[in-house]
């Protein structure tokens, strides 16, 4: 007899109490035992709501209107309490810190089991087993907040695993992780699903990892389930992807371009190794483009770290003799794995920290002599989590708040607010509460609140986390616009695939040092260096290198050009 499904939704619709339209509409979906199903769709498509519907948090905790029937482990999610459903469905959220509540790793895993009344000896056994499954054995006595982001995410996964649910729901589990940590989480999902028969639902924008991990992909659009198929079926459907603003794996995008150019008839592969294998069927590659040094090096430096080292009070050496300067008007991408020192360097520039050795200069002046409030007028800082910078009841008041210390006249104040709202496309939302907006719009509010001070330098810390392709590009388009106005822009990111259209210069950091300082094209083709630092080189660069050792193409369009013998080589 076939095993009962881990979860089943039948014509499920749901509206939040103040929702203007249903967050879910007539979703019918069955999750088989041991199956991995990916949820894809643009920001606001309903992925998180669907995740929360599997364990009854939607609708029980949110209220609102619920239609249809949802079952997990055979239990109706409307008629059974959440704690009962939790035995059958585990959930891991985007920000692991939000669900870590105890003072040690082992207590964290034991906590849910204790609440379920599991006998102590059994708890001990399950804690050890779960920690071993996520490769955290040996860290059992550590405080969860001493773990890296990737380790915290794995710990959250262990807490879900220990309850031995039939289904684990992961909502954007790798959004805040570097590519290596992200790959580790997906590797664990594959292993646990295979070895234990646990089913997974994974909402994610990580196309490469979903293609490798999911058996099926469910495509959501404005609350509807609009397509369901294997990763190959979904990622090859260019019309669907374009309509639903979904990014395919880089290798798929490249082969779609090859097909469109008539260079191959092969169906686009979704895995990199398949793509590398399929290159043999393409015309021979040739040298393409000459890498140049980044522009702007001759401009006067506006941010400079002069042989800076920094050690945290607990002895962690975050920066080690960093010597780097960024010129006025440059657009620099700062890359590196979690813990490489990127955020520490930013905090030193903002004078939120003082260097243990060396000197930090902003616009040629030592920051030690400047107050943080003064620096805030020169350097605008947009943090990784926009919600941490939002505290006013309307978009307009949030943006205007930044101007309070400047003591401007009412006319100048109103004019600046108007300009900032207009630049970020927020005029229509000026009266809305910032926390009622989508994450993309919240990020725009924070950028506007920074922009209103008209700083010469703008620093963005992972601005595209949790954004879909369109949302990420719209934010980066704003940064490009600011750069074109002559401002200096620094963007910290793990999303390498997004940056070729924006950044000119790349700094790669690792273990507290600047390992590479070069043009974006050269950096993206430094595949060994990137991999050694937990960064995944863009598939286009890997395909280009496989085609020809002097092929420096970075995008599918450039790859196509590099295969056309008659095409003139563009200047990079």
């Amino acid at each position: 007899m076939p095993e009962a499904p881990a979860a089943r939704l039948e014509s499920v619709s749901f509206s939040y109490p103040l929702g203007e339209r249903p967050a879910l509409l007539n979703v019918t979906l069955e999750i088989g035992a041991g199956e991995v199903v990916g949820l894809v769709g643009a920001t606001g498509a309903g992925k998180t709501t669907l995740c929360l519907a599997f364990n009854g948090i939607v609708p029980q905790l949110y209220g609102g209107r619920f239609f249809g029937r949802a079952e997990a482990g055979g239990l109706d999610t409307v008629d059974h309490p959440i704690h009962e459903l939790a035995r059958h469905v585990g959930i891991v959220l985007q920000d692991p810190e939000s669900q870590l509540v105890t003072a040690s790793v082992e207590n964290e895993v034991a906590f849910a089991l204790e609440n379920l009344g599991v006998p102590p000896a059994e708890i001990r056994r399950r804690v050890d087993e779960a920690l071993a499954s996520v490769e955290l054995d040996g860290l059992a006595r550590k405080h969860p907040h001493e773990l890296s982001g990737g380790q915290q995410q794995r710990l959250a996964l262990a807490t879900a695993l220990a309850q031995r649910p039939r289904l684990i729901v992961l909502d954007e589990p790798t959004a805040q992780l570097d590519p290596r940590a992200s790959a580790d989480v997906f590797r664990l999902v594959r292993a646990i699903s295979r070895e234990r028969g646990t089913a997974f639902v994974v909402a994610s924008h990580a196309a490469e990892e979903l293609a490798r991990t999911a058996g099926r992909l469910a495509v959501l659009s404005r609350g509807r389930l609009v397509a369901m198929g294997t990763p190959e079926e979904v990622y090859r459907d260019t019309a669907l992807l374009s309509r639903e603003r979904i990014r395919p794996p880089g290798v798929t995008a490249a082969f779609v371009a090859f097909r469109a150019a008539g260079l191959t008839r092969l169906p686009p592969p979704v895995l990199l190794e398949e793509g590398l294998g399929a290159l043999a069927g393409l015309p021979p590659g040739r040298p393409y483009a000459v890498p140049l040094a980044a522009r702007g090096r001759d401009a006067p430096p506006v941010l400079a770290a002069r042989h800076v080292s920094f050690t945290y009070p607990d002895g962690t050496r975050a920066l080690d003799d960093v010597d780097v300067s960024i010129g006025r008007g440059e657009y620099v991408a700062l890359l590196g794995p979690n813990g490489s020192g990127k955020s520490t360097l930013l905090r030193l520039f903002l004078h939120l920290l003082n260097p243990s050795a060396g000197r930090i200069e902003v616009e040629g002046r030592d920051v030690a002599a400047r107050r943080v409030t003064d620096l805030a007028r020169t350097i605008g800082y947009v943090s990784q989590n926009p919600d941490r910078q939002i505290f006013n009841p309307t978009v307009e008041s949030e943006v205007a708040f930044s101007l309070l210390p400047l003591r401007l006249g009412p006319a100048e104040r109103a004019s600046r607010v108007e300009r900032a709202l207009s630049a970020l496309g927020l005029l229509g939302l000026r009266g809305a509460h910032p926390l009622a907006l989508s994450k993309g719009d919240r990020a725009r509010v924070v950028i506007a609140a920074v922009l209103v001070m008209e700083p010469a330098i703008l620093v963005f810390d992972e601005p595209t986390i949790g954004q879909d392709e369109a949302g990420a590009r719209s934010i980066l388009d704003v940064t490009r616009g600011l750069h074109r106005e002559g401002r200096t822009v620094v963007v910290v990111t793990h999303h390498l695939h997004l940056m070729p259209d924006y950044a000119e210069r790349v700094l790669i950091m690792g273990r507290g040092r600047v390992l590479s300082d070069t043009s974006l094209r050269v950096a993206y083709h430094s595949t060994e260096l990137l991999r050694a630092n937990h960064l995944e080189p863009p598939p286009a660069a890997l395909l280009a290198r496989a085609l020809h050792p002097e092929n420096w193409a970075l995008t599918p369009a450039e790859l196509v050009a590099s295969l056309e013998p008659a095409a003139p080589a563009p200047s990079p």
């Binding site: 039948e10 014509s11 499920v12 619709s13 939040y16 109490p17 103040l18 929702g19 249903p22 509409l25 007539n26 609708p59 029980q60 905790l61 949110y62 209220g63 609102g64 209107r65 619920f66 239609f67 249809g68 029937r69 409307v78 008629d79 059974h80 309490p81 959440i82 704690h83 009962e84 509807r224 609009v226 397509a227 369901m228 198929g229 294997t230 079926e233 979904v234 459907d237 505290f391 006013n392 009841p393 809305a432 509460h433 926390l435 009622a436």
Partner: protein
């Protein structure tokens, strides 16, 4: 691959279900998680000494301005527990802001309970209990001060004028009116409602605390003269704190549509 159905209905197909929170731990209907989070807010605000409160012999913590807010956000029972729990933690973390510890914790709970009566409708029994309690305290307090200890009645009346004004607001239909202001969609009216509501609730709370303190300590008569200026100032400060913090919190909660506990009134 399954493809989209162009004729897909735009209305829900399945039967509508009755939505309710099942089996979750709650205090008076307020989920324990809410109570704990808001209790933590009270504990944090207990760190901040806000003024010199001579009646208690020390400074009063900023948290006193938000005890009533707990009553409107969580309902009387959940609010009382959150306030008491937060102020109890605050006693250990910031003892300099607590006068008589057990009285501080009890006062925090009654502040939320009084606020729980200041609503647009319902809770008549709770309000009646509050009225009887305050009436009894007023009689005992005034008798003890004026008859037993010789404080001049006029001085006593002036010293606690701000609190007596709050009692009048509480007794009249203004209690309902303030409740309606707090539930108004207009944030300006919410601010006004929170200011007046906090004035009422913390005045009743402080009057109760003062009564017990006086019974224990018997302040000298000249101190009542000083109260004439100090008490209105302190009440204004508490009301301002409650209105500013409360308006921001309520605006945020409404915007993110976090489910309200059944006893919440905002």
């Amino acid at each position: 691959m399954s493809e989209p159905d162009p004729a897909a209905p735009s209305e829900p197909l399945g039967p509508e279900r009755t939505v309710r929170l099942l089996g979750a731990a709650s205090v008076g209907g307020a989920p324990v998680a809410y109570v704990v989070v808001l209790g933590a807010v009270v504990a944090v605000l207990s760190f901040i000494p806000f003024s010199v409160a001579l009646s208690a012999g020390g400074s009063f913590p900023m948290a006193q301005g938000v005890y009533p807010l707990m009553g409107w956000l969580l309902g009387p029972a959940g609010g009382a527990v959150a306030s008491a729990m937060g102020s109890l933690v605050g006693l250990f973390l910031a003892p300099h802001t607590a006068g008589i510890p057990w009285l501080t914790v009890g006062g925090a709970a009654t502040g939320a309970l009084f606020a729980g009566c200041i609503v647009a409708r319902g809770r008549r029994a709770l309000a009646l209990g509050a009225v009887l309690l305050v009436a009894g305290e007023t009689w005992l307090f005034s008798h003890h001060a004026t008859v037993a200890n010789g404080v001049r009645p006029g001085i006593f009346l002036l010293a606690y004028l701000a609190h007596f004004a709050a009692m009048v607001l509480f007794l009249l239909p203004t209690r309902r009116w303030i409740g309606r202001l707090i539930e108004s969609p207009d944030l300006g009216r919410v601010w006004l409602g929170l200011f007046l509501g906090t004035w009422c609730a913390t005045s009743l709370m402080m009057f109760s605390e003062s009564f017990v303190s006086y019974w224990l300590l018997n302040w000298p008569s000249p101190l009542f003269v000083m109260f004439i200026g100090i008490i209105p100032l302190e009440e204004a400060a508490r009301s301002g704190i409650g209105a500013v913090i409360g308006t921001g919190v309520i605006a945020g909660l409404r915007s993110i549509a976090l489910p309200k506990p059944p006893g919440a009134r905002y």
